[in-house]
């Protein structure tokens, strides 16, 4: 029977089908961070369980640690220090490799697991963090789990999983200049709702995928979870292999040859079917920005905020009204007329080197608008280091951005830091939920280019208006 990419990876990891309808799947890599990993490890120790294969488990510090220069275990997050020190101790006791605060490999889990070659095509990877799906961009089967499942994976190197339904999203056409992976995924969620991918393993395919750089594919897969998907994935191609080769934990020599041969046949068979297929004409997408408190509340940057009164579905209308109220916005407002107080570039969605380069291209020679607070947080210490070698830090600093150490930072509440009540942020992150970036803070999700352009003008701005080099 013809198989999809997902079937192929699934079957290669199937230990046994259980009587109760679930499957016992082999888990190749487990990644932890100090917020949820600490709990999983402590709880295992309390139950006198051991990590079955510490060599396949890794841990980073990203969620609690702050991102101020000269940082330490002390953070202003209540109880934060305990998370950091307990994680360090638990990782040591369990024999797990930890990318600690001062490690040059430290960074946001989903950024560094790819960067270090820990995530590879054809592997199963889990992390107690919902954006683990980012790594599907490599052709890995990667998904976020809770703490209990994390303990399960650590103790058994397996997970009990009910096979999800499968969806294929065909990204057809050609992206217009200045339109990015972030705009595609926001457009997809806007079109089919935040529940549109409910529980599905989604393969992204099509001409646009072939053309997308690997880091952009990560941005796309990263937000599969905002589409309520089980995960997103993309078949590995030459770009993937080029990305993976030579990374510290990637296979070498003879094993590389073996892996290479394996990965080259890792794709969906010609007549394999999915439970559902969607087609998106990407040529028509413009830079896309959210206006509300769900990623489905998104619009093309030239559009105006819709009127809830025109929405037929009762619960959708109520959610729109709540969102407008929270965001302090009125129907009919043009997106590109909305003034912002802050700009944030960072998070596992958009903080890799290509994202920073893109933003720097827009910022170069410009200053951010008076009164705008602007912060850039590289996704890993390595991204930060490389950006500094290229002089990108100078571009950000000269424009008026703060340049931080790497971590999750104000994507949510890392280091106890958040935006203020009522502050309006244009942000390259993935969640515009109520209170996500600070109690009462108002988040507008956008691409790094849009964030940079908006920081300069002080209004939500189409970067193509400013960008002469594009």
């Amino acid at each position: 029977m013809p198989k999809t990419l997902f079937d192929n990876i699934w079957d290669a990891h199937l230990i046994t089908e259980l009587d109760d309808g679930a499957s016992l799947l082999h888990i190749d890599r487990i990644f932890l961070h100090e917020r949820t990993g600490s709990i999983a490890l402590s709880s295992m120790a309390a139950a006198q369980r051991t990590v079955r294969n510490p060599g396949h488990a890794f841990c980073t510090m990203d969620h609690i640690v702050d991102t101020f220069p000269g940082r330490s275990d002390e953070t202003t997050m209540p109880g934060g220090k305990q998370f950091i020190t307990r994680t360090r101790q638990a990782a040591q006791e369990a024999g797990i490799t930890l990318f600690d605060l001062d490690d040059p490999r430290q960074g946001i889990s989903h950024v560094i697991s790819a960067e270090q070659g820990i995530a590879l095509p054809g592997l199963t990877i889990v992390c107690p963090d919902s954006h683990t799906c980012t790594l599907g961009a490599l052709g890995a089967l990667a998904w976020g789990i809770g703490s209990s499942d994390c303990e399960h994976a650590l103790a058994t190197e397996t997970l009990k999983v009910v096979k999800p339904k499968q969806m294929c999203v065909h990204l057809d056409g050609k992206l217009a200049v200045g339109v990015t992976a972030k705009d595609i995924i926001l457009h997809l969620i806007r079109t089919y709702s935040a529940a549109g991918g409910a529980g599905c393993a989604i393969e992204f395919r099509g001409a646009v995928i072939d053309a997308l750089a690997l880091e952009s594919r990560m941005t796309l897969c990263n937000m599969a979870v905002e589409f309520s998907a089980f995960t997103g994935l993309i078949a590995p191609d030459e770009k993937t292999l080029d990305y993976v080769v030579g990374r510290p934990y990637a296979p070498k020599d003879e094993q590389w040859e073996q892996a290479h041969a394996y990965w080259r046949q890792l794709r969906t068979d010609e007549d394999a079917g999915y439970d559902k297929e969607l087609h998106i004409d990407c040529s028509a997408i413009e830079p896309t920005v959210t206006w509300g408190t769900s990623p489905q509340h998104a619009l093309g940057i030239s559009e105006s905020i819709p009127d809830p009164a025109e929405e037929d579905d009762n619960s959708t209308r109520l959610a729109m009204q709540r969102a407008l109220n929270y965001m302090g916005l009125a129907p009919g407002t043009a997106m590109n007329s909305i003034a912002i107080d802050a700009a944030f570039i960072g998070s596992c969605t958009n903080s890799r080197l290509s994202d920073l380069r893109e933003a720097a291209r827009i910022l170069k020679g410009n200053k951010i608008a008076a009164g705008v607070k602007a912060i850039c947080v590289p996704g890993s210490s390595q991204v930060k280091h490389k950006a500094e070698q290229e002089g990108i830090d100078r571009v950000f600093l000269d424009a008026g951005f703060a340049w931080r150490e790497s971590g999750c930072s104000m994507c949510f509440y890392a280091g106890g830091e958040g935006f203020a009540q009522g502050e309006r942020i244009i942000t390259s992150t993935n969640r515009n939920f109520e209170g996500r970036q600070g109690r009462g803070a108002r988040s507008h999700l956008a691409s790094p280019a849009t964030v940079a352009a908006s920081a300069i003008t002080g209004f939500i701005t189409d970067a193509r208006r400013l960008d002469n080099s594009a």
């Binding site: 949820t36 998370f83 809770g146 303990e151 190197e157 999800p164 935040a194 529940a195 309520s228 892996a259």
Partner: protein
């Protein structure tokens, strides 16, 4: 893990779509490396009033603060409940508060799994059934209780409504028995070892 077979209780309607785990338990409420002490932070952003980030007591308008809903153990809610962050704290907070079941048209996938692992029953029902239950409960919350029977997979009320719900066999069994998934899987140690021995030959590159 606490087993679930049958439960009757007060149902609170919180009929919003896309309630995310940040709303269920805000990051600011997760202060210790612990699964305990989270009930107080449940829905904190809605449940309490704030002034410049300081809590100023309960928000009387929030459903769970209304006297009629004290002791609510069933939540009636909207599509895509528990979307967003994977934090299992959301489930721990709901359980500690006293919830035994959440009824929604759909759930965030990670939340759903987390709920099952902790004896919190996630029930999928069509929106119109939930609306009917909500209407009934709201007439007199303490008296108009909802009855859940996991053995028969039904949700019913004394008004005569009875709705059947679907649940995967694996989830039903785990909840009914209160089984620990790790213990169950450790019984397959032989199969795991056998798989790895074979797999190491085929995918030696995957082993560090």
């Amino acid at each position: 893990m606490k087993a679930f077979t049958r439960h009757s209780g007060i149902a609170a309607p919180l009929l919003r779509i896309n309630i995310d785990t940040d709303a269920i338990i805000p990051s600011t409420e997760m202060k210790r490396v612990s699964k305990q002490g989270l009930g107080e932070g449940l829905f904190a952003g809605w449940r309490y009033l704030y002034e410049s980030n300081e809590r100023q007591g309960e928000n009387p308008a929030f459903i769970l603060n209304r006297p009629d809903y004290v002791g609510a153990s069933i939540l009636l809610t909207g599509n895509n409940f528990g979307c967003g962050s994977s934090r299992e704290h959301a489930v721990w907070a709901l359980c500690e508060y006293g919830f035994r079941a959440i009824i929604a048209p759909s759930f965030g996938a990670i939340f759903y799994n987390n709920a099952v692992r902790n004896g919190l029953l996630p029930i999928k029902l069509p929106e119109e059934n939930i609306a009917a239950l909500a209407e009934y409960c709201m007439e007199s919350p303490p008296a108009n209780r909802i009855h859940i029977n996991l053995v028969d997979t039904t949700v019913s009320s004394n008004a005569g409504d009875e709705f059947h719900f679907d649940i995967e066999a694996v989830h039903k069994e785990m909840l009914l028995q209160g089984l620990d998934a790790i213990d169950m899987s450790l019984k397959h140690s032989k199969a795991i070892e056998g798989f790895q021995a074979q797999d190491r030959k085929q995918r030696s590159w995957a082993y560090l």
